[in-house]
């Protein structure tokens, strides 16, 4: 039971980590980046190349990975989101474009890195430690702590800083934001780069758990969207809570049914949550104005 709770919290943190990055893009553009899972996968791939294959020290490798993936995220923005202009809410073109980008990323990764999943060393070594009678990997603790820190960071950035205000203004209207002397373009690019950095960190954190392969985030990515929506899109607190909730419910359900149903259960939870409360746990429902 506690073991299930613990593994649920770890997976939940990872979903939350994805949800946070999805949120940061949503909060300025109002779109959901359907290629985000694949960007996380690229983060893992680059980390593997830099840290394991090339033997670059961990911290330097981490920074390199973050920079590379941030660049990929910015390129993604120019190729799949920018062409649709400022009024993104009116079409679902970006949805197909980001999905397409995801397919491209996966298949390029297959060509370059091969389809075979590879191992990645966990942070803090593979010795089990015992806390309150539960055996766990130091890596699991790292995952929880780092996710919590990032969630707190975004909570502060979005809620308390001028950048946060600029981000919210951009999400409301690109043109009005421009009139206020803020380059909405720069704000959007900053957000995409930030989402890339979190994706890189997420990639490194996931790798020891799932192994590194082109398909590693195929369903994790989708569950990240689910976590974001369950918590209320655009809300850092919600992303964290939604991720943990999804992870824990999934793990608890696993104690009752066979592991093969894991994804099915997670998506069922997600669908029910969306149907009952589309605005999410921390979201606010607005009356549609005419």
């Amino acid at each position: 039971m506690f073991q299930a709770l613990e593994s649920g919290m770890v997976m939940g943190s990872i979903y939350a980590l994805l949800a946070l990055a999805i949120n940061i893009i949503y909060s300025t553009t109002g779109i959901i980046n359907f290629a985000h899972g694949e960007i996380v996968m690229l983060g893992a791939m680059f980390a593997l190349t830099f840290i394991v294959t090339s033997g670059i020290p961990f911290l330097l490798g981490l920074i390199l990975t973050c920079i590379t993936v941030a660049i990929v995220a910015v390129i993604l923005y120019y190729c799949t989101v920018r062409p649709f202009g400022d009024k993104l809410g009116n079409s679902l073109g970006w949805l197909m474009a980001t999905l397409g980008a995801g397919i491209v990323f996966t298949n390029i990764a297959m060509l370059v890195f091969g389809t075979q999943p590879k191992a990645f060393p966990p942070i803090g070594g593979s010795e089990l430690v015992k806390i309150f009678g539960i055996k766990l990997l130091p890596h699991d603790i790292w995952v929880l702590v780092i996710t919590l820190l990032i969630a707190l960071f975004f909570n502060v950035v979005l809620g308390k800083t001028i950048l946060g205000n600029a981000i919210k203004a951009t999400s409301f209207s690109h043109s009005v934001t421009k009139l206020m002397g803020i380059s909405s373009q720069k704000i959007v690019l900053t957000c995409f780069a930030m989402s890339g950095i979190i994706a890189a960190i997420a990639g490194i954190l996931i790798s020891p758990i799932t192994f590194v392969g082109p398909q590693m985030t195929a369903t994790i990515g989708l569950k990240g969207f689910g976590a974001a929506i369950i918590g209320g899109v655009g809300n850092s607190k919600g992303a964290f809570a939604g991720g943990l909730l999804l992870g824990i419910l999934e793990a608890l359900a696993m104690t009752q049914v066979t592991p093969g149903y894991k994804d099915a259960i997670a998506f069922l939870i997600m669908i029910i949550a969306i149907s009952i409360k589309p605005e999410g746990i921390f979201g606010v429902a607005y009356e549609k104005k005419v």
Binding site: P83, G100, A101, I103, Y261, F267, M270
Partner: protein, 598 residues
């Protein structure tokens, strides 16, 4: 295309028909190309059925679905399991697969009543994943990863040959295309497009949005089930790895490239994405990369797909044939001898947005056959009143009574069907259907035919459709837009869209017409024309509730006027009385100030 109708085709339309016939001949000649190619063509027919179904929900009704492979799998496995476990023949499996998939489509459709856009994308993806996992894990039923082997299709005790199966599929496919075309060219298809283009306006046209969205999901699921069952008997072996998320994306890609919301879209898309890649074997390794890139390039470069781009390049393709003479009466006479003199009553209505009282304790009585105007400064609550009457907003307190019936707690579409139609302050036309079709959507609530009538083109359905068309042309002529009938409504100027909205509202044959700032943005000539139209409407016994800022215009045509300020009633009376009311003058011009009114 209906050959039975005496209809003239212009040059462009003829060309398309010839092209269509050529494609059909190509399919008819399929067996000549050998066994491998024949299998590919059979698969193309199956894909054409499923993408035509997907086009109903995603293209026409605008509800994105990324779980179509799941419904396809449900059809395939229903067919396979019935054939193997219960030893049923193909002819029983087929309707069973359609029914089971249809029920599942209904369930998938339920979340759409609450969400759309990317939320819906995620829900449908989730459904696809759940089905995929069930296929692998529910081993006793599905055979698990090993799949199921299925016997051949038999007819009269004899198994059909490959060629016979192919021709059977071709017949089924043509039948599906014909039936779907009938539905899409009927009020049902127009209702789908109206929901896609503007949900709120569609509701105010008397379209049951929830019902039609569900119907779109069920129709597309039934076709997915049909296609799935055909696939089972074509390949005689099914396993879970066929029905992946990537297949769902592929189906959506097919209609996006071909062109959503047109009958030709899935045909073009299927020909391009199913048959062509076989000639690009060299690509094999890069095929998915090419698909992914194609998705990005197409949604950016060809947002309406190939058929949409062709239609926009050659608008004559969708030209509506203007009737020789337009003689139908545009406005239905509503003058009935009825002793009840009041049509609409608002009693103590309050509407709050958060802490703001948009409307406070408002009472209003509108007399039958009158032109009643609401005036007042911006923010006085005039449009909120209209939105309350039409059910777009629910009042926090108070009652709205129309024709003796309390309407403050029923859905907008039911209020519309009860006889209230409206225009919008910011115009809300159905942009991606033609001007003529916009008006025909307005007539939606007048139909007595059902889905069966439309699908099989019964006499009743055709008669009603003809009547609607005639009335729509007459209304177009009345508002002076008959030369723009075939154009997309969003290509009209703002002023023209206002007139289109009035014509569309009149097509609903209302008892009460709510006009929300109809003269906004119109020039002097157009305003005079508008006054003329309003006179015409009034003469037919239709009651009008008008919101307008052009005071001269209001004074000229109103029987009574209610003045609002800050959500409260300031004054009420005839135009003469209002002009002399001191409070009204103060509300408009301010107190103790000498202002030269222009």
């Amino acid at each position: 295309m209906g050959w039975h109708m005496k209809r003239k085709y212009n040059k462009e339309q003829t060309l398309i028909i010839v092209l269509g016939v050529l494609v059909l001949i190509g399919f008819l000649a399929g067996p000549a190309a050998g066994s491998y190619f024949l299998r590919l063509l059979s698969l193309a027919l199956i894909y054409l059925i499923i993408t035509t179904g997907l086009n109903i929900v995603a293209g026409y009704a605008g509800q994105v679905s990324l779980g179509q492979a799941g419904l396809y799998a449900i059809g395939a496995y229903t067919g396979g399991i019935l054939a193997v476990k219960l030893d049923m023949s193909f002819w029983v499996c087929l309707p069973a697969a359609m029914a089971v998939a249809g029920i599942c489509g209904f369930i998938v459709g339920i979340p759409t009543l609450r969400v759309s856009g990317h939320y819906l994308a995620l829900v449908t993806i989730g459904v696809g994943v759940i089905v995929e996992k069930l296929l692998v894990e529910w081993v006793p039923l599905t055979g698990g990863p090993g799949g199921i082997s299925v016997p051949l299709i038999e007819m009269g005790g004899q198994p059909l040959s490959e060629t016979q199966v192919y021709y059977l599929f071709l017949v089924i496919c043509l039948l599906v295309l014909w039936l779907v075309k009938n539905i899409m060219k009927s009020p049902v298809g127009r209702a789908f497009s109206a929901i896609r283009d503007n949900e709120i306006a569609a509701g105010c046209m008397g379209i049951n949005i929830m019902g039609y969205k569900l119907m779109a999901f069920v129709l597309s699921a039934v076709l997915a089930g049909l296609a799935g069952c055909l696939y089972t008997f074509l390949s005689s072996y099914i396993s879970p790895d066929t029905f992946t998320f990537n297949l769902s994306v592929f189906f959506l890609l097919t209609i996006i490239i071909g062109g959503q919301g047109t009958m030709a879209g899935p045909i073009i898309g299927t020909l391009l994405l199913t048959i062509l890649p076989e000639y690009l074997q060299a690509l094999e390794q890069y095929r998915l990369i090419v698909y992914g890139l194609l998705m990005i390039v197409v949604v950016i470069g060809l947002p309406y797909g190939i058929s949409g781009a062709i239609i926009r390049k050659f608008p004559k393709l969708i030209e509506e044939q203007k009737p020789e003479k337009i003689e139908a009466d545009p406005i239905v006479d509503k003058q009935k001898s009825n002793e009840n003199n009041t049509l609409l009553v608002l009693e103590n209505v309050t509407k709050r947005f958060g802490g703001l009282n948009a409307i406070q304790n408002m009472s209003l009585t509108v007399k039958k056959g009158s032109v009643h105007s609401l005036i007042g400064p911006n923010g006085a609550g005039k449009s909120t009143m209209i939105n309350i009457i039409t059910g777009v907003y629910k009042p926090n307190e108070g009652r709205v009574v129309f024709n003796g019936q309390e309407i403050n707690n029923i859905k907008p579409y039911k209020i519309a069907l009860a006889g209230i139609s409206r225009t919008f302050q910011s115009v809300q036309v159905f942009g991606k259907i033609s001007v003529l079709e916009n008006i025909m959507v307005g007539h939606h609530g007048q139909y007595r035919s059902n889905l069966f009538d439309y699908t099989f083109k019964s006499g009743r359905g055709r008669k009603e459709e003809k009547l609607t068309r005639e009335r729509a042309w007459a209304l177009l002529k009345m508002v002076g837009l008959e030369d723009r009938a075939s154009e997309f409504a969003d290509s009209l100027s703002a002023g023209q869209q206002r007139f289109l909205e009035i014509a569309r509202a009149l097509a609903m044959e209302p008892d009460l017409l709510l006009l929300d700032e109809p003269a906004a943005g119109l020039n002097e000539v157009e305003i005079r024309y508008l006054a003329h139209i309003i006179e015409q409407i009034k003469s037919k016994g239709i009651t009008i509730l008008l919101i307008e800022h052009h005071i001269d215009f209001v004074m000229d045509i109103s029987d009574s006027i209610t003045v609002l300020n800050f959500g409260k009633k300031l004054a009420e009376g005839t135009p003469m009385e209002i002009q002399g009311n001191q409070e009204v003058i103060e509300a408009y011009l301010g107190k103790n100030e000498v202002v030269e009114a222009c």
